[in-house]
């Protein structure tokens, strides 16, 4: 397995594991409070839809000429990756609320209980919530599988990495019978943001006609570079946020209030 293929498998595995943890929390909440059978039906249908999307779009994308594919996919991956990275840096800096699976589980459980009595047969609430949860979390993974896989013509490898991540998370979740709150979700999201942005920079530039010094080996400089810069930016924001309330309180005489965004 080449370095680029290892990067592909690792990025897809991490992204898929993070999204699977979030989807698992939703499924556990509706399944344990209302109907396991209906929740699992929703999961099954959502997985079929996601598999159909990858199967339909994969061959269409890979049939594009390599230069055009790298330009389009590199650009999209970079735009998408910068979203992940930006949110991850803001979470790391304490400006944006971190994901808390226990809090999400609590909210979903309360909503499921408030939705009224479970109906006999297929429970529409459990089916719909599980279906939407898995589909929405899974779409991001499908996008990553398609873009990463298509660029290296290794969609099966990307899909396999995603499948292994789902199996690992589901096995861990059912073994624990609880949301996987101890998974370092925010750190993993930071890592995925770094990988998506790095590969987006690399493929986007190649697709636009640039030649990297050292060819594929340039990734060995780009990935640590993006990681270093991202950590430096998180540190700088953390410092400025910590300083800002002091300045505000000195000016107004009020108690300092931390700035935060919702998830």
């Amino acid at each position: 397995m080449s370095g680029a293929e290892l990067g592909l498998a690792l990025s897809v595995f991490l992204a898929c594991a993070v999204e699977a943890v979030e989807a698992l929390t939703i499924v556990l909440a509706v399944g344990s409070t209302r109907s396991w059978r209906s929740a699992m039906s929703g999961v099954g249908v959502a997985l079929l839809v996601l598999a159909a999307i990858v199967a339909a779009l994969g061959p269409a994308i890979t049939s594009l000429p390599l230069e055009l594919l790298r330009l389009l996919v590199g650009g999209l991956l970079l735009i998408f990756g910068l979203q992940w990275l930006r949110k991850a840096i803001l979470r790391s800096a304490g400006v944006k609320a971190r994901h808390d699976e226990l809090a999400t589980y609590q909210q979903e459980t309360e909503a499921a209980l408030a939705a009224g009595q479970t109906r006999p047969g297929l429970d529409g609430y459990s089916f719909t919530v599980a279906f939407k949860g898995v589909l929405l979390e899974g779409l991001e993974v499908a996008f990553i599988v398609l873009t990463f896989g298509a660029n290296q013509h290794r969609i099966p490898l990307a899909a396999a990495a995603a499948g292994v991540a789902v199996l690992v998370v589901v096995a861990a979740g059912f073994a624990a019978s609880a949301p996987l709150a101890r998974v370092p979700e925010n750190t993993m999201k930071f890592g995925v943001g770094v990988m998506l942005s790095s590969f987006g920079i690399f493929w986007g530039a190649e697709g636009a006609g640039a030649h990297w010094p050292g060819s594929d080996a340039a990734l060995l400089a780009i990935i640590p570079g993006v990681l270093l810069v991202s950590n430096a930016m998180a540190w700088a924001i953390r410092r400025s946020v910590a300083r800002a309330p002091d300045e505000t309180s000195q000016a107004t005489g009020d108690a300092p209030q931390p700035a935060s965004l919702s998830a």
Partner: protein
């Protein structure tokens, strides 16, 4: 709202998210790279520098918005 419009809006929201300026920045940087690549000059350095600037500006906007909401 028609379903086609809803799908387009959903796709935009999914890929671009809440910071369209970053997407425009990436498109401009790729265009600039393509232009420089047609000359004798090296073009590989444009994307890393552009991404650094795009990310810094995007984070600055987000941090400023957050401190306004306090």
């Amino acid at each position: 709202m028609s379903s086609a419009r809803r799908i387009l809006l959903g796709t935009w929201e999914f890929v671009v998210g809440d910071d369209w300026r970053s997407a425009v920045g990436v498109a401009v940087a790729l265009g600039l790279t393509a232009i420089v690549a047609t000359t004798d000059l090296a073009a590989w350095w444009i994307m890393p520098l552009a991404v650094l600037a795009i990310l810094a500006l995007s984070l600055r906007r987000a941090a400023r918005d957050a401190s306004r909401r306090g």
